[in-house]
Structures are given as C-alpha cells and as structure tokens.
Symmetry: C2
Subunit: 338 residues, 2 copies
DNA sequence: AATTTTTCCGCAAAGCTTTCCGCAAAGCTT
DNA sequence: AAGCTTTGCGGAAAGCTTTGCGGAAAAATT
C-alpha cells in the first residue's frame, strides 16, 4: 500500500546525506556544492520526486485550494464560469474544490463549512437563490477569509464581486424590442432578493421609459428560476386578457421554458411573440429559432472572479467591483424583419 | 495572518492538559474520564475545532481527494457525470479535484501528473479523443493507483469502467428508424480509437442486418466530435448522390450539428430526414423538434464510476465493468406518424 | 605553523494529528 | 499493610518539508 511517493528522506538515505542537504540542493541553495546539487537533482528526477503538498501546506499554512460554490453544477452557465476560474487558478498553482448549493440556503451554509474544514484558503461564491440572510458571509469577513461573489452578489461594499452590466443590458433589450415594433414587452424576473432580478428589472423599466412605453405591472412576472416555474409564469402572461407581444427572460432556463410554452400555444417566434434571453453563446444558438440574447461573458466572469480572489489573498485590499460589458446579439427570435 | 484555525495544541494549552488527552477525549477513548471528555468537547465546540486534514493526510497517508479528468468541463454531459461523482464522493467524505484534457492527449498526461503531484488517491477518467496510446494509464496500474474509466474506456480487462450499453442502444435506434419506415439510415461516428465509436457502429450495423437493410459504406461518416466537423460530416451525407433519409448522431454535439445542417438545407425533420441522438434528457428536449434519443444516464454514470472507485480503493479487487441500461425515448425528430 | 575565513553540510524545530508506551496515583485483594 | 490491577493522563514518534544556526573540515591568510 502506503508510500507510493518518494520523499526527501528517501533521497537522503539513498545518497547518504542529510535531508536538509537534499532539500537545499534541489532549491539551488548557495551552501551546497555543485557536484552535490547535480547528484541530488539527478536522483530526484529518476525517483520522480515531487514535494508533498500536505507537508508544505502544514509548514507554510497554505493549501493552495480555493472553494467554489455554485447554485448547481450542470448548467452550462456555471460550468463555463468554473472553467474560467479553474484556468486562472491553475496558472497560479491553485486547485479548486467544487461544491453545489442546489439553490438551497442550508446547503450553501453547509458547503461553506465543509470547504473551510477542508482548509480552502478562501471562497468564490454565487449565492443560492434562497439566500436572504448574509450572516454566514459576514462571519467569513470577520475571520478575514478571502471571499468573492460572482453574478449574484450582496454586501457589495464589503466583498469583491464581478457581475454583468445587468441594468444597461436589460435596457438595451427593451429598446431593441421597441425598435422592432414590439409594444407590450413582458419581463419574467427571478426572486427579488437577488440583485440580478432587481437590476435587470430596473433596466427593463428604464428602457421602457426611455421609449415612452408604459410600465404595466401585469407584464412583470416572477419565477424561482426553475424550468417549471418559468413555464407557469409564461403561461400566466399568455393567458392575460391583453397578453404581451414580446418577452424578456431573465436567464437561460427562463428563456427556454418561455420558448416551449410559446410554442405550445401555437404562437410563432418572432412574429407573434418576440423573445430575448440573458444567456451565453452556446445555448442561444442551439435552440430554434436562435435566441436573441445578451451574451453573458461566462468564461471571462470566471477568470475575473479568480483574479479578484488572488487580489484579496495577496494583499488585503479593499473590495473591488468588476462589471463586465455584455453585448446584445440579435438573432431570429426577436427579428421580425427576416 | 496565519492561524485562523484552532488546533489540538490550542485546546490543550487552554485546558492545561496534554495534546494526546485532548485528542483522545474527542474520540471517546476509554482512557479518558467522563469529566475531562466533557470539558474538552465543550471547548472544542466553542473554538470550532476541526481536525487539520493536512496533518491527518500526512499521518494516515491519505488525502481524501479524487482526481477527475474529463475531455471538457462545459458540456452538460460531463457536468452531469461530475455531479454524480461528486455526490457519491461527498458521502464518503472525499473531495474531487477537477481537470480538463480539452480532448488533448498531451493535456491528459499533464493533468494526470498534476493531480498525482497534488496527491489524489486515485483517478476517474474519461479519455480524450486524441488518446491512442495507453502507457500513461498502464503506469498508473503499475503503481497500483486506483483508476476508473467512464464512457470512453480502454484496457478493459485491467481497469474498472462504466459505460452505456452502446451496442444494444445503437441497435435499438436503427430498428426504430426501420420501423418508422426510414430506409437509408446514416451514422455519424467519432474517432475510431474510441470504444464508443466502435461499439455504436457495431450496434448500428447489427440493427441494419436484423432488419434486412443493406449496410452502405457511404452512409457511415466520421467526425472528431466537434461541432464543425460534425456539420461537415452531415453536409457530406446531404450531398451524396443518394442521400440518407435518417441520421443517427453518435452524441449530443453531433446530433445538434446535424440538426442545424439539415435545417440549413431546408429539410423537414422528421418527414424529410429522421434524426436520433445519443444524449441526455436535458438537451434532447431543448431543441426543436425535440430529439428522439437514447437517454444517457449521466448522473448515474457518475455515481457508478465513484462506486467503482471506492471498490478499488478499499480492496484491491479485480476490475469490474458496469454497463448501464439506456432507453430509447421517441420524440418528434424521428416520429413520422405525428 | 597557527589562525582566520570559507565551504559545505547536519541538527532541530515547527506545523498538526494519532497512537503506542510508560508512569503515577488510586482502588482493590488477601 | 503489602502487592496487585485499574484508571487517567503525558511523552514521544512518525508522517514531510523548510530554514536558522552550529560545526567540522578545507582553504586561505598572516
């Protein structure tokens, strides 16, 4: 069983020198003679020596692990962000430990505890949609544990975070709809405790107002971001006495659910009903018709989150807020002209 | 900075007892008096003591980490499998360290090395499509490092693996097409070094033969599983003097690419061209028309892979092969009757 | 030739946990 | 009361690495 890996001790024994000599030889310490260095390095290579990260961690009090908590693991949106975090972390020689909250507040807290027990050096988190209360985050701050939020954020003055330009982007969507001739533009939002809901709603309203379109409370629906709940929301919109002629879904899942429901009602997209989402490249092009959307720069969001994390880790700087520019990509789902 | 976490030493000092007493008290060792146990446990709770996994790892020579290597991180297929692995591993108190090969043989080898340096206790791998040579896996076996393959496998007699019932499933697809009245059934395969390509091709052919349909080499295309390459393959099929009336795509990406290409050629699915894929529930229902497919039990595949991993870890058993039953779910893309 | 400097390497501690021994005191037996 | 067992705890080692300090031998100096 046991010892698969070569240790300094093994090398030292074989060369009949002390452990410290081996250690220093490998690090080109000036105290060690050239011949000794070569002998040691050669044997180290032959025995495939690599320092034991556990011992190093114990000594240096660092684990080179980052905890990442996402609402779920399977959505392309999060998967892509994780890929971004991972690539940046790898550059720095860090690994990521993944946990999923399954959109549950309890599991979120539990995951934080587990990751801390595993001695991650800090956390990068996208809050669960259930989370209304922030004391578990505050206690991280109190213990000076590096923390970064992405996409869904809170405590913005105290925690570094990276988000999309939600308000701006939503405003662009509404204006785009208006330019295409849509007049009754609906918005399917998410839980109001989420900043993305609030910000995208604000942009939606600002967009309407800038086009002199009325804000109709009937056209603002809410869902819990699940597929079913989004379908129900869309269904309510379609059953309105005066239904919308365009819908803006707050994210991927919602946009897809809305699309299915619209089709089920035998309505044509984009002619009977315009549809725009807030998704990434991949999903927008796989559906039919291709979805006009604000393309969420997911991979980049991951990279930025990781960058902010290392800023925190290296020097206790004051929290930074990074806002990623998005762009509106017009595809068939909102393009009456075609 | 430094020491955020309470150690046994901290507790011992505060209680003015020895470290070993504290350790034993927490583990209910019979040598320790009831009162002492209570005092210790109470303080441990108050100070939020949790054992340092690095120290434990050093002592027990175990890191409680599993390395997982997938061809990419963002595909729903792999994300879902990873979720399955993760949930089983968490039960056992293990974490997973994720790495992506990006379908590259070199990166696969590199990832293996990195994960071993990080001292994972073993590996769960889905080979990159480039991998033709297996010496890097064999050296894992030689060092007795637990190894499990999923979906794409090799060295089957030496390594535990979990796959879908590829041949059977493919046979079902061909027969289903035949029953629907399709006669010229094409197959877009992947790289031939992958078992999934070979097995699904075998099933496809067996299905044709069992229906007394001829096997036409023109109708068997190959691609490298990328979107573009799959589109090109589909395009070649469509430009055949005698094109197919149905297509079986070897996986998600291929099926979607084929769908786009069919639409681009103004053909109707399922009437002009039947289409069936080998995908999971999610993707099959998000496209239009909904895709008939063999639903790949992805999450379960992850769970099984993890289970096999722990079998290996706990007792050096001989390698097991788990084959997961799939089912054919008929949706619109191959259902002329509707 | 004697002394100082340089060169090269070993010792030991720290970081944290578990566990085998050992040891003292208390309780028991006869 | 003397000798035994039991009870309850402390010491130390092992697992692996880095690094300050001390020390011996070789080289250089006077």
């Amino acid at each position: 069983m046991g010892n698969r890996h070569t240790s300094l001790k093994d090398l030292a024994r074989e060369l009949k020198v002390s452990i410290s000599t081996v250690s220093r030889a490998l690090k080109d310490h000036p105290d060690i003679s050239r011949e000794m260095k070569e002998k040691v390095k050669q044997l180290a290579l032959a025995r495939k020596y690599s320092p034991n990260p556990l011992a190093m961690g114990l000594l240096k009090q660092e684990t080179r692990m980052i905890g990442v908590i996402v609402p779920d693991l399977v959505t392309h949106f999060y998967a892509s962000i994780i890929a971004g975090i991972e690539s940046f972390a790898k550059e720095k020689g860090y690994f990521i430990l993944l946990a999923s909250s399954n959109e549950s507040y309890e599991k979120e807290k539990e995951s934080i505890e587990n990751l801390l027990k595993a001695r991650v050096e800090g956390l990068i988190i996208c809050m669960s949609q259930e989370t209304r209360e922030t004391s578990h985050f505050k206690s991280l701050l109190a213990e000076n544990i590096p923390l970064v939020f992405f996409d869904r954020v809170c405590l913005q003055d105290q925690v570094s975070s990276v988000t999309a330009d939600n308000t701006d982007a939503s405003k662009k969507i509404t204006r785009h709809f208006a330019e295409q001739g849509y007049r009754r533009i609906a918005f399917i939002s998410g839980p109001e405790q989420l900043n993305i809901s609030r910000e995208r709603l604000a942009g939606y309203i600002a967009g309407l107002e800038s086009c002199q379109l009325p804000v109709d409370a009937d056209l603002i629906e809410q869902c819990n971001l699940s597929h079913d709940s989004a379908r129900q929301a869309m269904n309510r919109l379609l059953n309105l006495p005066n239904p919308p002629d365009a819908v803006f879904g707050i994210n991927d899942t919602v946009a897809f659910a809305a699309m299915k429901e619209i089709k089920r009602h035998q309505l044509q997209i984009p002619n009977d009903m315009g549809l725009v989402g807030f998704t990434d490249e991949f999903h927008a092009t796989v559906v039919d018709p291709p979805l006009t959307s604000i393309t969420h720069p997911t991979y980049e969001m991951g990279v930025e989150a990781a960058r902010l994390f290392f800023d925190q880790l290296n020097s206790k700087q004051s929290p930074k807020t990074v806002t990623l520019k998005t762009r509106l990509v017009v595809r068939e789902s909102s393009d009456k002209a075609r």
